[in-house]
């Protein structure tokens, strides 16, 4: 399960073990309190012939005891908190703010930039496993929150206030997450996929992403490419080599290489893409991609074209 219980990085590991032991400790305190309440309830339940109990107004020693004991426990918890904060979110030095990865949150998708190589993609973040990736978070509109529980802390994505985080996954694999600050109509479908790969695989992926996609062959796909230019698609989307360069919406240069569409609302299959293009508002109501009222043929052509963008 995609939970902090499967820690996949030293940072998440620190948070996980702290959470686990705190739950154990909290459980013990709960058992103590509940045990005392139940013991009092059973032992001192009124019986028919009871007289008035002894009237006791307090006990200073007890009061001091149950003030000092929790205080000592909290001193320990605070020290532990300070130490774990350093492991769970290592400081980003002021001199070291040249990020490997820039993530820009939009209503309701994630724009992903690799400034050192120039790769741009969306919603699916590839990283080399075992390396600390300095990540910068920016927002294009409202406040979002980047949360991939298995590998990193939550980080708010605040307009006008960039945040930094070391993103790291020890093992190759897929780590899922989601936006976790309410950000409007489609907050529910702003999911995140982090794909950690071996350094070789990552390099190969990056290389592939930098290629300009080959021109489509086949009539339908060519027709789809023309439609992409004629309809308003290119007013928002980029496809490298096609002349479409707007960055308002997800970069589609290597669209077909991604596993999901609509920031996780559907798997990226030709059938689903067809449904999506027919009317995105039926799948993700309120999203900023309008219903373009395309005919079935136009949808088929566009689907054929977009599927060539490996």
């Amino acid at each position: 399960m995609d939970s902090l219980l499967n820690a996949g990085s030293p940072q998440a590991q620190a948070m996980q073990s702290m959470f686990f032991w705190t739950l154990v400790l909290g459980g013990l305190i709960f058992l103590l309190v509940t045990g005392l309440v139940l013991a009092a309830s059973i032992r001192y339940r009124q019986r028919a012939n009871d007289d008035e109990p002894r009237q006791i107004f307090g006990n200073l020693k007890l009061e001091i005891g149950w003030t000092i004991a929790p205080a000592l426990l909290l001193v320990f918890l605070f020290g532990w908190t300070l130490q774990t904060m350093r492991t769970a979110d290592p400081a980003v030095a002021a001199t070291n703010q040249d990020p490997d990865l820039v993530i820009i949150a939009h209503q309701w998708w994630w724009e992903v930039h690799y400034p050192k190589s120039g790769v741009v993609t969306a919603n699916e973040i590839h990283i080399p496993a075992g390396q600390k990736i300095l990540t910068r978070f920016e927002s294009a509109d409202v406040i979002h929150n980047f949360w991939v529980p298995e590998i990193a802390r939550k980080m708010d994505v605040v307009p006008g206030h960039p945040n930094y985080l070391w993103l790291q996954a020890d093992q190759p694999g897929l780590y899922q997450g989601a936006c976790s600050e309410f950000c409007g109509a489609q907050h529910a479908w702003m999911r995140i996929r982090v794909i950690a790969e071996t350094p070789d695989e990552f390099a190969a992926w990056q290389q592939a992403q930098l290629q300009t996609p080959a021109a489509p062959t086949g009539d339908t796909a060519v027709q789809g490419q023309q439609l992409f230019q004629q309809k308003t698609c290119m007013n928002c989307h980029t496809i490298a080599g096609s002349g479409a360069t707007e960055q308002i919406a997800p970069d589609l240069t290597h669209f077909a290489s991604r596993a999901t569409l609509g920031a996780g609302v559907m798997d990226n299959t030709p059938a689903n893409l067809n449904t999506w293009l027919t009317n995105p508002q039926a799948i993700k109501p309120g999203s900023h991609m309008p219903d373009l009222k395309l005919s079935a043929d136009e949808v088929n052509a566009l689907t054929a074209y977009l599927e060539t963008l490996q």
Partner: protein, 565 residues
């Protein structure tokens, strides 16, 4: 001071609506008991509305990718659920109890400012109606349907984070209704706080020093001061938001030089003290009820009162634990983490004192006492999960998930609402002259206890496995559907328990047992008059020489004031 007879004065305590000037004598009343009852009825109505909204939420989430509600509708409903429960239910319901019982408990004739008292109540009603009018009046269709507002109610969540709540992202006028409605409620609440503070400080019967006032009154006093200092930041922020939205200022719009984070500072500077505003009077109720049904005085009176003052002061130093993920730096987070942890000490003191009060007593498990004991247990769960949020690295994972939803429902429902029901069963006889049925009451209690835990316990686990809060739907990940379905079933059990309660109230009003002046053999002054109390409250206030004046009357040989003053 001259009396101005603007209001038809009634000489019976609870005039029927059909009697001469019946309706007018309620609407125009400045009597704290009538206003208190109107507070309780109005907030009960809002509680039912907020509860129906909660059921809508749970139906939508009962299974993955459900389409019962459209996204915008869902977002409006959860925004209204939170706003209603906090601003129109929990806070004013506790104020309603305070309005009714504080003058009685201190032996006063009425509140210090009876007309201001009526204004506070009617501003609450007006603010609530304004907020709800947004469903019909707030719509503003957006061309093309994209980016859109298709309904009128606010939909930026109960804490309405900017810039989402600003005009570019919330183009319907829902957020304007939200801000205006809360301003009206907030001004009324502020007036109520001043009224309660002055009443408690100036109108106590001779002999009742501050060391002898009932703990409920102590908590209401501390609560009054928290309200006095916490509401101004909220009201200021609401005005700034309105100026942004209506006059294109940019306090909270980063794209034009404002700050999104500033809204959070203002809001939580109010919003966390608000949490204590919502729990302190409930603690006060528990501190009245547990001693009476354990037949012992409260254990450690000074420590229960003193720890509440400590919480009142600390409550202003902890608010930024709502902002640990904003990225304000480790030193900032560490400071607020330390202050937040400190809160656990005075809270723990109270829990241990309540248990020590039960210990060695002769406990009568009336429905009221059952709710009070369940309160201790459920509130402890909410308190412990609260400490986990003070530990910054845990907050970095668990905040804004269903774990936090579970946490605050354990505090506000398992805590405050259970305490309120304990208070209703305890004080209903005083207010109406009729006892609530214990048989119905036990059904109500057990259904509510089971329904509550079924609904909310599983949400801890949903949060741990990664479900964010405020999502209108969720992917079919392992276990998510089952756990959400359990929670939905629990919500319906809970709703049924509320129906049982309402049935109990109606049946008991109709043919409940007469209560008599002091059905529980309690010790504070509200029980020294008839049920319901006459318009002038007391024929004669008994002498107050200790914290339990009625105990002293009943035990002339062995009064409290000889042992403990």
């Amino acid at each position: 001071m001259s009396r101005i007879p603007l209001v038809p004065e009634s000489d019976i305590p609870l005039p029927g609506l059909r009697s001469d000037h019946g309706l007018l004598s309620w609407i125009a009343s400045v009597d704290h008991k009538q206003i208190g009852i109107m507070y309780l009825l109005a907030t009960l109505a809002f509680f039912l509305i907020g509860g129906i909204e909660a059921l809508f939420i749970r139906i939508q989430l009962a299974r993955p990718e459900n389409s019962f509600l459209a996204p915008d509708t869902y977002n409006q409903i959860f925004t209204m659920h939170g706003t209603t429960m906090i601003f129109l239910v929990v806070v004013p319901m506790l104020l309603g109890f305070a309005t009714y019982f504080v003058p009685l408990m201190i032996g006063a004739r009425d509140m210090a400012y009876p007309r201001l008292n009526a204004l506070s109540f009617w501003l609450l009603v007006f603010g609530g109606l304004l907020l709800y009018f947004s469903f019909v009046g707030g719509g503003q269709p957006v061309a093309g349907g994209a980016g859109g507002a298709n309904g009128g109610a606010p939909m930026a969540g109960w804490f309405s984070y900017a810039p989402l709540s600003e005009r570019p992202f919330s183009s319907s006028s829902g957020s304007d209704y939200w801000a205006l409605g809360l301003l009206a409620v907030g001004i009324g609440t502020l007036a109520g706080a001043i009224n309660l503070i002055v009443t408690i400080l100036r109108l106590r019967v001779p002999g009742m020093s501050l060391r002898r006032v009932p703990l409920f009154v102590w908590m209401v006093l501390v609560n009054g001061f928290i309200l006095l200092f916490a509401l101004p930041p909220l009201n200021a922020a609401l005005v700034m938001l309105l100026v942004d939205r209506q006059l294109n200022a940019h306090f909270f719009t980063p794209l034009t030089g404002g700050s999104a984070i500033m809204w959070q500072h203002y809001f939580w500077a109010f919003g966390h003290p608000e949490v204590y505003i919502m729990i302190l009077p409930a603690w006060g109720m528990i501190s009245e009820i547990i001693p009476v049904f354990s037949r012992k005085p409260i254990f450690g009176y000074e420590f229960v009162a003193g720890s509440s003052v400590a919480i009142g002061v600390l409550s202003f130093a902890v608010y930024a634990h709502h902002m640990f993920t904003v990225g304000l730096g480790h030193p900032f987070n560490a400071a607020f983490s330390a202050a937040s942890m400190l809160i656990a000490i005075p809270t723990g003191i109270k829990i241990f004192n309540w248990i020590a009060t039960m210990w060695g007593g002769k406990i009568r498990f009336t429905t009221s006492m059952l709710f009070a004991v369940a309160f201790i247990i459920l509130f402890t769960i909410g308190g412990i999960s609260g400490v986990t949020f003070a530990m910054v690295p845990i907050d970095w994972q668990m905040t804004d998930t269903y774990y936090v939803v579970a946490h605050f429902h354990y505090v506000l429902f398992g805590g405050t609402v259970f305490a309120i029901f304990a208070g209703v069963y305890y004080w209903f006889p005083k207010m109406t002259g009729k006892l609530l049925s214990e048989k119905w009451g036990k059904w109500h209690f057990w259904l509510m206890f089971i329904g509550f835990n079924l609904t909310f316990f599983v949400q801890h686990i949903l949060g741990i496995v990664g479900m964010p809060r405020r999502v209108y739907t969720y992917p079919d990940l392992p276990g998510w559907g089952t756990m959400n379905l359990i929670s939905t079933i629990g919500a319906f059990v809970l709703a049924f328990a509320v129906l049982v309660f309402i049935g109990n109230v109606l049946v008991s009003l109709w043919r409940g047992q007469p209560a008599g002046d002091n059905p529980w053999d309690a010790w504070t002054l509200e029980w020294a008059t008839t049920s319901p109390p006459p318009v002038y409250n007391f024929e004669q206030v008994p002498p107050v020489r200790s914290r339990r004046p009625l105990y002293d009357l009943a035990h002339p040989d062995n009064p409290d004031w000889k042992r403990n003053r």
